[in-house]
Symmetry: C2
Subunit: 122 residues, 2 copies
Amino acid sequence: MSHPPEFDIFTVTCPSRTSLARIANKRTAMVVAALGDDTLRFTELRAAVAGISNKVLTVTLRHLERDGLVARHVHDEVPPRVDYELTELGRTLRAPLEELGRWADEHMERVLAARESYDARL
Amino acid sequence: MSHPPEFDIFTVTCPSRTSLARIANKRTAMVVAALGDDTLRFTELRAAVAGISNKVLTVTLRHLERDGLVARHVHDEVPPRVDYELTELGRTLRAPLEELGRWADEHMERVLAARESYDARL
């Protein structure tokens, strides 16, 4: 992997390493994929990412908002309505994360077979 | 993100979700990038992934070996020599992870700017 000199994921103190931790993350991948082109409320998003707790989804969304990847909109209604969508920056993450999702889909059988054969050797 | 019906990352019980957790992971990304086309000893790999502890690298390598992504070779020498390389399956992960690394490099400035502006609002 060649990197421009200003950032280096192999350097502990480099901010791109923190950023990689944020984006190379199952929950980020699932939230970005679940949002896609849509604007979703918290409950809709939670339903889309099955099995995620309120707390974990809240923290994930706050991180993504802080990183400028997700926009949180609070509508002045009664009761107040809050929804989420990918920002323009967040949308640029879709393609690389979809690549990774495709990899998981395409190679899952081989990974599972490798696990079985590894466990059988123990 | 469209998925073939047999795997669905949004289903908690689906094995592709576990697999996504394994590959959409900072440490996996760094080890795969650090190995590249090389065969490295543990100490060389640890030096390449600065700031990783022996324990964390050991666990990461064991997971990657179990998933069939990394091959561990024990050479019958005194003292015994152990080295690691990506398997053919592991090499197929390089391109999608490199995409993600490129994203981190290219968008880092904007992510950092977003963080600063978010924190300034608190």
